[in-house]
Structures are given as C-alpha cells and as structure tokens.
C-alpha cells in the first residue's frame, strides 16, 4: 500500500456504482436489445475497473485477466447479436 493506492481505488469504487446503475437498466429493460446494451456497458466498466485495481495493488495478473475478459465479452456480445438477428431470410 503506497501513496498512490487511494488515487486508483476510489475511481474503481465509483465505477462499481456505475455498474449498479447499468444493472438497473439490465433488470428493467423493456426489450432484449436494451438488456444487451446494458450488459455491454457493464463489461466495459468491468475491464476499466480491473485495470484500475491492477494499478492500485501493483499486480499485473489483474490486467491479464482484463484482456481475456474484454475478448470474451466481445465474443458474447457478437453471439447474442447474431442470435437476435434471426436465421437466414430469403
């Protein structure tokens, strides 16, 4: 714990609050694309927060996990979008 710990962990906590705001939209969302948009926002905020936590604790492994999480959430978003488009149309 050095002097920079608080500088990085406080924005991390604020990003957690914004994730909860997006979670409200994920629960309320009237249509399915609304929920997908909210999940995409939560994924972006998780990646940003994980980078901040990795800088606060000075551990590189958090940032490696953030890279893999970003790629997997991207694949998940594309997959759900492909599912929503429906099958081949004539």
């Amino acid at each position: 714990m050095n002097e920079f710990f608080k500088i990085f962990i406080i924005p991390g906590g604020l990003l957690l609050i914004f994730m909860l705001i997006a979670l409200i939209r994920l629960i309320l969302g009237p249509t399915t694309p609304d929920r997908v948009v909210a999940l995409d926002t939560i994924n972006t905020l998780v990646v940003a927060g994980m980078i901040l936590v990795g800088a606060a604790y000075e551990e590189v492994i958090y940032i490696d996990v953030a890279i893999v999480y970003a790629l997997l959430s991207y694949i998940g978003t594309l997959y759900v979008a492909k599912y929503l488009e429906g099958g081949p149309r004539e």
Binding site: A22, D34, V37, I67
Partner: protein
C-alpha cells in the same frame, strides 16, 4: 507531486464520462439513444482511466527502474487496444440486430432503411 495532478485530471475525466454514460443508459427513451450514450461515453472514459494507469506506471518505471512497471504499462496498452477495437464493433452489431429484430425508435413513423431493402 506533478504526477498526482496529471493522474487526478485523467481519472477525473474518465470517471465523469463513465458516469454520464451509465446515466444516459438509465435515462434515454429507446435502444438506439441508449446505445449512443453508453457506448461512446464509456469508451472515452475507459480510454482516459487506462491512460492514467499507463502514465503512472511509466513514471514509476523511469523513477525506480523496476521492470514490473514496464510490464504493467505494456499490458495496459494491449488491453486498451482491445477495448478500442472491440467496443464500437460490438455496438454496431447490437444496433444492426436491434433493427433487424424489429425494434423501432420511440415516436418513429417511417422506416426508410426497411423500405430501401424491400425495393
């Protein structure tokens, strides 16, 4: 002392834009405006919070010389590149899927994109 001011500016910009993105996601009326608010604002905010981490680790590396910090900076740059590439692409896919699954913007009357495709 100067590095703390730079970090404060970068993290402040990032947190403010992430806050605006999630508030816009909560407040806007339909899918397309929510996508507009949340994707652009959170991408911009995440770029700035990651830039703060990069500046911090590069300054610690140049002052101490510990090789852990240059690894931290390089991995953050890689994560930032992935974030910049994947986030707009995913938003585009969601918008196309929303249009094709029949979600209309609020108070929309005509759909010219569908009319063009029918011709």
């Amino acid at each position: 002392m100067g590095i703390k001011i730079v970090l404060g500016i970068f993290l402040g910009i990032g947190v403010i834009f992430n806050c605006l993105g999630s508030l816009g996601l909560l407040r806007f009326p339909d899918v397309y405006t929510r996508l507009h608010a949340s994707t652009k604002a959170t991408t911009f905010g995440s770029i700035f919070t990651s830039l703060a981490v990069i500046v911090y680790s590069l300054s610690r590396w140049s002052s101490i010389g510990d090789s852990k910090f240059i690894v931290l900076a390089l991995h953050t740059i890689i994560a930032l590149i992935f974030l910049i590439i994947t986030n707009p692409t995913g938003a585009h896919a969601i918008a196309r899927a929303a249009h094709r699954s029949g979600v209309m913007p609020k108070r929309a009357v005509i759909d010219q994109l569908k009319e063009v495709k029918l011709k």
